[in-house]
């Protein structure tokens, strides 16, 4: 009866909703533009002139958001991102002393490995994804602290040579381009959305849902592993709390970008870009305004809630948890 109930409301308001949905999908972008303009006027163009500095902060978040975006598209969650970033960073640092390429590969593999752990417990043991990832988050954070107990894990000085716009931007754009292509123009994307919208039916339509789910977690780990390289290139070492709370940043970024938390058909690839940019712009803007920490955080929270309230897609959720 759930569906039929929904159906009644839906059908009556179908017309209106299609319009609302169109609007909603555009809202984040409008939001971004507005916020950007607002801050520029408030800071007398400061923000635009120092865009390079601002963008320098976006790469890591932007890259690692891609993986979580895939996970959330199929209705899962991942809170272990921060720890994945941490472990991968440590691996990158260690291997960077041997060879940079090896370091990159190592980071990616480390990330993928943790992703696989998540995937295993989630898919094979049927434990809720957020329970699994909260546990692994704690677990691997422990490892990180252990590794960095006596001193931060330093990378070889060579890595700084890679701290160039070209490389960071290159990697970011590459990741974005590839994932966009794959998500938008291959069956992969449609499968993910379908799983998010109705896993059982998707299974009955011949999609190997379990395999997909597992692989996505691995993929997300791998992507974050790559982001770890970009992170290390900039920071040169992994401390005990490297990547701390990355997961929250990602979550906030995606939600700001208009990502429906339950995933499904309504997700848009631009959620990633818009969200990450919005998040960074917001942070910098508030700092430029010269606010105190408390005030900044207060405003952040309020803006966040407002955005969510505006974008949240409530139709496709029969029950909101």
């Amino acid at each position: 009866m759930a569906n039929t109930d929904k159906q009644v409301t839906k059908d009556s308001a179908l017309k209106k909703q299609t319009i609302i949905n169109m609007l909603r999908s555009a809202l984040p972008i409008i939001g971004l533009v507005v916020v950007f303009i607002v801050f520029n006027t408030l800071t007398k163009g400061n923000m635009w002139t120092s865009r390079k500095l601002i963008l320098n902060q976006v790469y890591v978040v932007l890259i690692s958001t891609v993986g979580v975006f895939f996970i959330m598209t199929m209705g899962g969650l991942d809170f272990s991102q921060g720890s994945i970033m941490g472990m991968a960073s440590i691996v990158v640092c260690m291997l960077s002393k041997v060879n940079i390429v090896l370091a990159i590969v190592g980071g990616v593999l480390a990330g993928a490995a943790i992703g696989a752990v998540n995937g295993f417990f989630y898919v094979n043991r049927k434990i809720k994804s957020f329970i699994v990832t909260i546990c692994t988050m704690f677990l691997f954070r422990g490892f990180i602290k252990y590794m960095a107990s006596n001193s931060p894990v330093a990378a070889s000085m060579k890595v700084y040579d890679y701290d160039t716009l070209g490389i960071k931007l290159g990697i970011t754009l590459a990741v974005l381009a590839v994932s966009f292509l794959v998500f938008r123009f291959t069956k992969f994307g449609i499968h993910l959305k379908a799983i998010g919208a109705g896993e059982k039916a998707t299974k009955f339509a011949g999609v190997r849902t379990d395999r997909v789910k597992f692989l996505i977690y691995v993929l997300a780990g791998a992507i974050t592993g790559l982001a770890a390289f970009v992170n290390i290139v900039k920071n040169g070492s992994a401390t005990a709390n490297v990547g701390n709370q990355l997961e929250t940043q990602i979550l906030i970024a995606l939600v700001l970008g208009g990502m429906p938390i339950s995933g499904g058909a309504k997700v848009r690839f631009e959620n990633i870009i818009v969200g990450s940019l919005l998040y960074i712009v917001l942070n910098n803007g508030l700092i430029m305004m010269g606010l105190t920490t408390q005030a900044m955080q207060l405003i952040q929270g309020v803006i966040f809630l407002i955005f969510v309230a505006l974008f949240a897609d409530r139709q496709s959720l029969s029950v909101i948890k």
Binding site: M1, A2, G75, G76, L77, F121, Y122, N124, R125, K126, I127, K128, S129, F130, I131, V132, I134, C135, T136, M137, F138, L139, F140, R141, G142, F143, I144, K145, Y146, S149, E199, K200, Q245, T248, L251, I252, V255, I261, S262, T293, Q294, A295, Q297, L298, Q300, G301, V302, F304, L305, V308, A309, A312, R314, L317, V319, I320, K321
Partner: protein
């Protein structure tokens, strides 16, 4: 009807089985460390202090359980504890209301935070996970404004709840209340009903939203009690910002996982209490071994994952998100 008689027979022992399982866990975790480091671990006196330490989180977890059972989540636990503790402390100190101010202040604050979480979640119809993330930001900064960047210290005269028997009394009262609510009021029944199937519950004339908000309020109040215990135990509380309060989320959440895992044995609250106890036994055990703290995190996270894994049975074709 032979089948049912069997099932009935099996279930008779369910509760006892649950207790046995928990007892086993205690004994095993105790035994292992007792064998390895007999001299400085696991004397009756030690065990008591381990248990005391576990009370804090247990109280919070017991309250949070109401929210978790309904399938919702709360990321503002840490922020709530922080805020409640500080308000309580301010009441007790600045306004010189003594114990009354401390306890009442903290609990009221906690409940209000819960109310805010619940109402926003229900009214905005946004997933609780998201709402609470946004609100956590706000609570942190509010707490900071109240504390004014100075640590709130509880004078030694007001620390009765930090040690035997005060903490035990308060905790036991809390547990009793939770037990009462869960087993001897409509609230408990409806909590499970909503957790089991919201639509059927609606049809039974349960005003789902009302009880969801109520669950958040209850959870909040219990976190308030936890705040009292926490600040009495540690004697001071600082209002951190930047989502740092999130680090307080994990331990109570762990307890809840225990509760959920043992729900089917019909004894969640004891499971939470003993679960937190076991976690602490392991923690102190490792210190007795002189193992670095980091490794303890690893073990705890891992142990938890295993326990959850063992207690969730893999139902074929079941959809888990």
């Amino acid at each position: 009807m032979k089948k049912t008689r069997e099932t009935a027979g099996k279930k008779l022992s369910a509760r006892t089985k649950g207790y046995l399982l928990l007892l086993l866990m205690v004994i095993v975790s105790w035994g292992i460390f007792k064998i390895i480091t007999p001299d400085n671990f696991g004397s009756a006196k030690n065990m008591l202090s381990y248990f005391e330490a576990s009370l804090l989180a247990a109280v919070g977890a017991v309250g949070f359980y109401f929210v978790m059972v309904m399938g919702m989540f709360d990321f503002s636990i840490g922020a709530n504890i922080m805020l409640s503790a500080i308000v309580g402390c301010v009441f007790a100190n600045r306004f010189g209301l003594g114990y009354l101010g401390l306890v009442v202040g903290a609990i009221i604050t906690g409940a209000l935070v819960g109310l805010l979480n619940g109402t926003l979640y229900v009214k905005l119809r946004i997933p609780s996970m998201i709402v609470t993330t946004g609100l956590a930001l706000i609570y942190e900064s509010v707490a900071n404004y109240i504390a004014g960047g100075v640590e709130q210290t509880l004078p030694s005269g007001l620390r009765a709840f930090g040690q035997m028997p005060g903490n035990l009394i308060l905790a036991v009262i809390a547990f009793a209340v939770a037990f009462l609510l869960l087993n001897y009021t409509k609230i408990g029944t409806y909590t499970y009903a909503i957790g089991s199937n919201e639509f059927v519950a609606k049809n039974m004339g349960i005003s789902v939203n009302k009880y969801k908000v109520l669950a958040f309020i209850i959870s909040g109040a219990f976190l308030g009690v936890m705040a009292v215990l926490t600040i009495s135990y540690g004697s001071s509380m600082v209002a951190v910002t930047g989502m740092a309060s999130m680090s307080r989320n994990f331990v109570p959440t762990m307890g809840c996982f225990f509760g959920l895992a043992f729900k089917k044995y019909g004894m969640p609250i004891p499971a939470i209490i003993i679960g937190e106890f076991v976690i602490n036994i392991i923690f102190f055990g490792f210190i007795a071994l002189g193992a670095p703290t980091a490794i303890q995190d690893v073990i705890t996270g891992f142990a938890l994952l295993i326990i959850v894994m063992l207690t969730t049975k893999v139902a074929k074709g079941e959809i888990v998100k």
